[in-house]
């Protein structure tokens, strides 16, 4: 990629690149320094404002929030994947009355904001007597919206398995169901693994909607912490850093998986991520 648009640089180009490097570095550092100076001038860098985050109880509280985030992400990912697999099979079905509703679900859900779904579960359903526990108020809408995304990932994976594989399965006398389960799906699942990981990172980010539901995940824990100690900005900076570290590690994992397995290209991103 890097040699698509330029040749091996000569002496003059190298000098220009050096100048651009220095200029770029200086510009970035200057901007950062300016921001930090303003930040400090407003007292936001005062040691007393950061000191609580050098103590264990604050971290213990945030880490328990992270644990709840992980729990919500894992449960909604499991639900969304199960539903997604069913939807993917539905969309590939030969029967119209199965195919159409599955397709309609996927197409409709991808145009509804997750927050709106959360509001429905939070405010609308209790009025009709269905008041889910907090945990499910977060995980159910996330599962509903991510199921469509997982369905598209699985469908791409299944379609990427060569036709011959399925035909061979049928030829050796397996039923269509067995062929799908024993031959096509295992290969498809391996190929879409990186996409599944990156969609799961998106889902993990979605759990920050717990902020709205007041389910004690990481961002909401930050909110409770901020009402306790009044350190709004510091708290959210720490929370952001935790998200960054966790998600960057997961994304890295996705890239390692991608590099190790010559699979299909991940399907295009069609779904909102929070």
């Amino acid at each position: 990629m890097s040699n698509l648009l330029f040749d091996e640089p000569g002496p003059r180009a190298r000098r220009r690149i050096r100048i651009a490097t220095v200029a770029g570095t200086v510009a970035v550092l200057a901007l950062l320094a300016l921001a930090v100076r303003q930040f400090a001038a407003n007292g936001q860098l005062d040691a007393a404002r950061w000191q609580p985050y050098a103590t264990w109880p604050m971290w213990r509280y945030l880490l328990s929030g992270l644990w709840s985030t992980a729990l919500a992400a894992v449960v909604s990912a499991a639900l969304a994947m199960a539903a997604g697999l069913a939807l993917a099979m539905g969309r590939l079905s030969r029967r119209r009355w199965v195919r159409l509703p599955a397709a309609a679900y996927v197409e409709a859900v991808r145009t509804i904001p997750a927050l709106l779904l959360v509001y429905v579960v939070l405010f609308a359903l209790p009025r009709y007597g269905l008041d889910l526990p907090l945990f499910w108020k977060l995980t159910v809408p996330l599962a509903v919206s991510n199921a469509a995304a997982f369905a598209e990932i699985f469908r791409a994976g299944i379609l990427s398995v060569e036709r011959g594989q399925g035909e061979a399965g049928l030829a050796v006398g397996l039923t269509p169901g067995q062929t799908m389960r024993m031959i096509v799906l295992p290969q498809a699942a391996r190929r879409v693994l990186p996409s599944i990981v990156s969609q799961s990172v998106g889902l993990l980010k979605d759990t920050s909607l717990g902020f709205v539901v007041s389910y004690a995940e990481l961002l909401y824990s930050g909110k409770v912490l901020a009402t306790y100690n009044g350190l709004l900005i510091q708290t959210y900076i720490v929370v952001a850093l935790i998200y960054l570290v966790v998600n960057a590690s997961l994304s890295k994992l996705a890239r390692v998986l991608e590099a190790r397995r010559p699979g299909v290209r991940p399907p295009r991103r069609r779904f909102a991520r929070v």
Binding site: A48, Q51, T55, V224, G230, I233
Partner: protein, 305 residues
Amino acid sequence: MVSLKRVAAVAAVSMIGLSACSGTDSAAPAVPGEPKAGDLLADAPVAAAADILPGSTMEKIKKRGELIVGGSLDAPLLSQQNPVSGEIEGFDADMGKALAKYIIGEPKVKIVNSASETREALLANGTVDVVFQTYTITPERAEQVSFAGPYYSSGLSIAVKKDTTGITKPEDLNGKTVIAGANTPAIPAIKKAAPQAKIVTFGSDPECVQALKQDRGVAYVQDETLLVADAQKDPSIQVVGKPFTSDPYGIGLKHGDDQFKKFVNDWLTKTQSSGLWQRIWKNSLGTVVQGEAPAPPQIGSVPGS
């Protein structure tokens, strides 16, 4: 840049293991509720065995060994989780513990964090036994839930930045941008008192305070006690005028459970006559308001209670 060095210095110091903070700093977190709830409730009344009628809600709670309370985790002075101890502290929280002690003999509560829109449903389907959450008694709500109490009476007030002029009463808010907590009773109250005000909402009290300081609105409407606490923590804001609403807070109970309502009202009378109510107030709201505990409101004095 000096501050950067200070941060580094603090980080280094804390790594050595010195986590005790000087405590003189104004930005250091306030730790309310010094006497632990246990000491506070040491001589709290406990119901006589005869009062726990067979087949009643009280008996069910006593058998379970835990009172399930609908409440909040992020309402300072009322029901705020302390991240250090994990305990939930404040006036509402301690009242809940006192009721648990009255029924069970021990202050064992489980707080179910509830959004204000779902409290009726939580009570109706029995997810929670009682709701202690700045639950204003109104005749409309009383059609869906029963209210014991009122156990506390409060009102909404207005906070502004120190240098603001021209805002002393709610009518002054007309045509201005006003900050309020999302889904709080402040929103309908502002609409009523100042219909031309533009309301902008944020999720929590510190967010609203920060927004006020950053001029996202000229005034912040919230429960007076909370505002007094905010003004005390942050000298750049002040509370103006007197509360412009009167909100009698009730204890939400399942609709039609008159037996339990009478039981809770009896308990409330006992906490008030024994001085426990006043001690709980002193320990929470009283830490930011000067003077003695106010007279508790008359039980059953409000339409809907």
